[in-house]
Point group: C2
Amino acid sequence: MSDAAAGNPAPPPPSPWERERPARPQTAPQRTPLSRERIVEAAFTVLDRQGLDGLSMRQVAAELGVTVSALYAYVSSKDDLLELMYTRLFDGFTMPAPDPERWREQIRDYAHAGRKRLLSHRDVARISMAHVPFTAELLPHVEGLLAIFRTAGLPDRIAAEAGDLISTYIDGFVLEEGMWQDRAAARPDDGDSSLARPDWREMAGEMQNYFASLPPADFPHLRALADVMVSDSSDERFDIGLEIILRGLASYLPDKAPDA
Amino acid sequence: MSDAAAGNPAPPPPSPWERERPARPQTAPQRTPLSRERIVEAAFTVLDRQGLDGLSMRQVAAELGVTVSALYAYVSSKDDLLELMYTRLFDGFTMPAPDPERWREQIRDYAHAGRKRLLSHRDVARISMAHVPFTAELLPHVEGLLAIFRTAGLPDRIAAEAGDLISTYIDGFVLEEGMWQDRAAARPDDGDSSLARPDWREMAGEMQNYFASLPPADFPHLRALADVMVSDSSDERFDIGLEIILRGLASYLPDKAPDA
DNA sequence: ACCTGAACACCGTTCAAGT
DNA sequence: ACCTGAACACCGTTCAAGT
C-alpha cells in the first residue's frame, strides 16, 4: 500500500533543516554493491548488538566487510546516517483519515504504533528524541496527526501543542523503558546468562526492595506508590499516561460530554 | 534554607542504580587543589562554551589547567561526571509542602522551575533525559512531587504516572527548544554575529516560510497551524502543554468541579 | 565507478612514574 | 598525597591512490 493509496499526501520539498546528502549512485548493482539502504540495514544490526554508544562508522563498515571511508560515498556523516535510521522507522507507517467520532481511538492507535516502532530496535528512542520530524518524508505524518486533532474540534493552539505533547510522551516513555533495561542488563548479577534479554521483572524486584528500604517517615508517598509503580506492566503504565493526556485534550472540546 | 528547614526529608541510602564513586579526599586545600566541585564547575563552563558534544574529559582538564588523568582521582568516569552535573542542577531546589487546594499551582511552579533549571546551561535537557532521578539526592524531589498529587486526591495509579509524565514533558519540551536553537546557530546565515545568542525569531521566520511553501492541498492543517505554532512564544507553548496535562489529571479527581 | 590505505585530530581510561 | 606522561584502544572525517 503506497502512501498515495492510503490517502497520504506526497512528500514536500526539502526543508531548511535537512542536511544535504550526496546523490544516490544510479549504476546497476554488480556484486552486492554498497547502497544507502544496505548501510542503514547494517547500522541497525550494529545498533541492536552494541547499542547506540557502540554504533560507530567503523563498526558499520566492518559489518559490511568494507573500509570506513567507503561509507562516505553514500552517507555524508554519522548524523546523516542517524537521520536515515530515524526516517526508516516510519517506513510503511501511514496515518488514517481523521474521523472526529473516533479521534481518541486513532490517537491511541498512533501512540501504540509509535511505541512499537521505538521498541523494534535497541536505543532508537534515544535517536528519535534527538530528531524533529520536520523533514520531507515525515511531514505527512505530522499533518495526519494534526488533522486528527483539528477535525476532532480542538482549538488550534491546543491542536498545535498536542502533536508535540504525545510525540514527546511516546519518545520519553520508551526512552525510560530502555534505560531500565540497560540498567538491568548492566547488573553483574547472574553472569552472562543472556546478553540480549534484559530482565524487567528482576529490575522491578530490585526497585521494590529499594523502595521498601526507604525510611517510611521520610518517603511515605514513594513507599505507598512503589507497589503500583512496579506491579503495573509497561503496557499498562503507557496507557495510563496516554489516557491522562487524552482526557486533558478532550476537556478543550467545545460542547461534547466531558467524558465521551 | 536547608532541606530540613524546608521540611524535605533526609536523603535515603544509596540506591542500586547509583554508580559508586571514589571517596572524596578529606585533606585541607593547599593551593586550589582539584575537587569534585571544581571539576563539575569546569564541566559546566565547557558545556556552555562547546555544547554536550564538545564536552570531553580532556577539555574539562584543560579548563582546569591539569592533565586528563588527574580528573580520575575525583571522578570515576565521564558518566559519573554527567550524573554529578545532573544532580547539581537541583541544588537549592526544595519541594513545597503539599497543599490540596493549590495543587495545580504547585505543579505549575514546579514545572516552571524545572524548565528554568534546564535552560540555565546549554544542553542540560539532553543530560537530564538520560538520567532517572532515583538517586539518594534526588529522591526527596520525587517524593515531594508524588505528595502533591496524592494529597490532591488523585488515585494512586494516576499519581504514580503523573510524576513521570510531567518530568518527561519538561525535559522533552526544553530538549526541543534547544534543538531549534542549535539549528538556528548552525545556519551559515549572517556569519559569526554572536556565537552565544542563537536567534529564535530568525528560525521562526524560516519555519513560517517553509510551512507557507508547502502544497496547500497536501498540508492544510500544518499550514493552518503554522501561524500559531510560530507566533506563540516558547513560554506560552510550554504553559499550554502543561495545562493539557493538568486538566487531564484533574479529570481523575473524585468529586470536585471538573474545572476548578 | 567504486573502494582502499593512510593520515589527522580527536576520544575515554589506565597506570607507572615523578615530586 | 597529588599530579604528570605515556600508552592503549578506540573515534569521525578526508583524500590521494589504486583497480
